[in-house]
Amino acid sequence: MKSGELLRIRVAFGSLGLVPVFLAGWLGWLQVVQAGTIDRRDGTPVPLSAATADRQGWRTETIPAPRGTIVDRNGATLASDRATYEVRTRVGAPRKVRNDLTLFRPWVARLVNRLALALVADSDMEGRDVLYERHKKRLASAANRAWRIDELPASGAWPKSHRRTADFLVAVGVDRLAVIHALRAYDMSAEYPTLSMQFMHGFRREYPYRDLTHGIVGHVNSFKTDLPSGGVKLETIGVVGLESFAVLEPQDSGRRRYLADGLSRPYFAALVEDAPEGAVLHSTLDLELQRAAVRELTAKCEEGLHNRKGKYAKWGALTLVEIATGDVLAAASWHRGNAPAQARPFAPYQNLFEPGSIVKPLVLGYALEVGALDWAQEYDCNPNHSTYRDVIRSLGRRKAVRDDHDCGLLTPHGIIVNSSNIGAALVGLQLTRPQWQDYMLGYGIGQSLGLNLPGESRGGNHHRSFAEEIKIRSFRANSAISFSFGYEMTATVMQVARAYVRMFRGLGAELRLVKGLELDGQMHDVPAKQDVSPSYRPEVINAIRRAMSDVVSNDSHATGRFVHQQIMKESGVDLHGLVGGKTGTAVSPVRLLDGSRATMRNASFVGFLPADNPRWLAVCVLQSDVVSRFYGGRYAAPPAVKLLLQCQKQMERQPMHQASQFRSGGQTRHAPSGVDLRLPGSSGWSASVGAGVSRDTR
């Protein structure tokens, strides 16, 4: 080898040898001299570690959490979030159309047309032609806004300062496979290489039995809220009914990591971390009984539409409660008029009424319990006799107390069966003012149901009924007598139901609307209140129960004889001894929304079944602005009794379980017994990447 060659080789290999020396030096500079961190542009230090490198390589998308699911007592879904896509597109104007603006507008029109066609790509869709036109109009408007097409000249080249790319919403709630495929086909396609589609997670709230559950399950509304970062967020919250419960709010979002190629296309996705699962709220409602309640109440309320023109209810409410637990099994509401269902109050806990005679068993039960009443004593209920004159009229009451039929000597049992106002007043006058206050408190009249339902009406006695300055004589002449037959106080149907549950079980009893909560796959029971003391003596309850049982009989003076005859005629069932109850009819002045006052007639009924050992309790009220011939026994009793009979029938059968469950996230879960669908890793929460949270909109 010549000396020149040897030198060249040494120089070449020497240079190569410098490379590792340089790398080692650089490593030392970064890891030792710079002490393991470098500064970002904003001054924050970035640790130079493998974890940082990994973190910067990965990108993260947020998986939004769904709202919780509401199910009935048998697991049938009443409300659930179904996963859908919110599709946005980002389109750059191609060079060709930018160079010649005469081509741009037709190009946009073609694009809009294609997208609109993609949105109706499913041949199973109804009214595709109408939908297509609607989409086309909306997309054209969105594209115009995004590109500010109005500001572009008709011809020539693209202005340098004008925005070249447009980002606009294509559609929300996309859930049809054909549509998804059609839209995906445009993503960076050969025809539209500058168009990228973003499929973001979204949810659609579904109510499989909407007509049955408007008020009690409630509904959600979405509101735009400003983010601290300057963006806008669309927040969906429940506004009434069970939907308003905070536990149904979407929990923390999940995260999913992915890598992106040079064109920012995601090409690898890791599993979802902290997969969001909505809570499952197990309500006490029974879908089948709810259906029956809605059907019976609606049928009765709308009866007058067909056979008594103008003489039908203004509103109605019906609720069914399991006495042993206080579980609300069904709650139905009906209102006259064409107002949207969401705009109507939910009568069982929002509409107040003067309960009328349905409180008489409560009054007599209380009086018997506190020793103010002898169940064997007879009361002279004839308004022409001296007892009435001496005890009632002598108090100077402005309005006379009257019965709808003349009664004579009545025991407390007879007072309930005949629904004698005079008899009830005579009993009520045995109670002192503190006892009446205790009566209101004990039965929860004027107190919240404690179910945390927004917009609940509380009612109660008149605010001056127990005022200190009201003299005892005046209180006895007016309030005590009025309270005895359910006047000078208002209550909701559910409050009346709770009052009866308290009479049967104990004054500490409460209604229950939620049986349990399923959080992260763990079931948390909401136990029925066990300590319901103080309770009435069994002989008190039995006396009231027997009297109420005789109300629903064919006795000529029994106020429940109409429903007895009707059910006997319709289905051959003898209600006497099977169903107990009490009718009520009250005529009340009511202040209307426009400030005027009108006289309303409340037909009410409270019933229980079985009569010898009450298990279920139904309360029904219909209010009418037709003052005459609107009685509790005729209008309110039939729906309540039919619901109780339906309840008995259903409980005799096996509970109707709906095996197939539909839960949040659009996952269809077939739930055979013993199979836990919430095993780790089975959440199914993950989807395409390259998307943000759909509820966040720009």
Binding site: A83, R176, L259, F268, R291, S686
Partner: protein
């Protein structure tokens, strides 16, 4: 001899580089395929959710009663038409 070994080592280095790049490219393709399948599954899940809800609605007693009523009305109209 030493030049032969150097050449072979160089060829090995180039082969390793090409092989590694190839495997990485395969990985990228495979990952992208997995991602596409993953997306396709979730697209189908959305469709499944929709169909489940649609079917549930279709078989509710109210809907069935509505359909039954509709059929009865059609039948009634058909018979009336036949009588006329």
């Amino acid at each position: 001899m030493k030049w032969l070994i150097a050449g072979l080592l160089f060829a090995l280095a180039v082969g390793l580089a090409v092989g590694t790049a190839g495997i990485r490219a395969e990985n990228v393709v495979a990952r992208r395929t997995v991602e596409q399948q993953y997306r396709a599954i979730h697209d189908r899940k959305k469709e499944l959710g929709r169909l489940w809800f649609q079917r549930l609605q279709a078989v509710s007693p109210e809907r069935l009663a509505e359909m039954h009523n509709h059929w009865l009305q059609k039948e009634s109209q058909r018979r009336q038409g036949r009588v006329q």
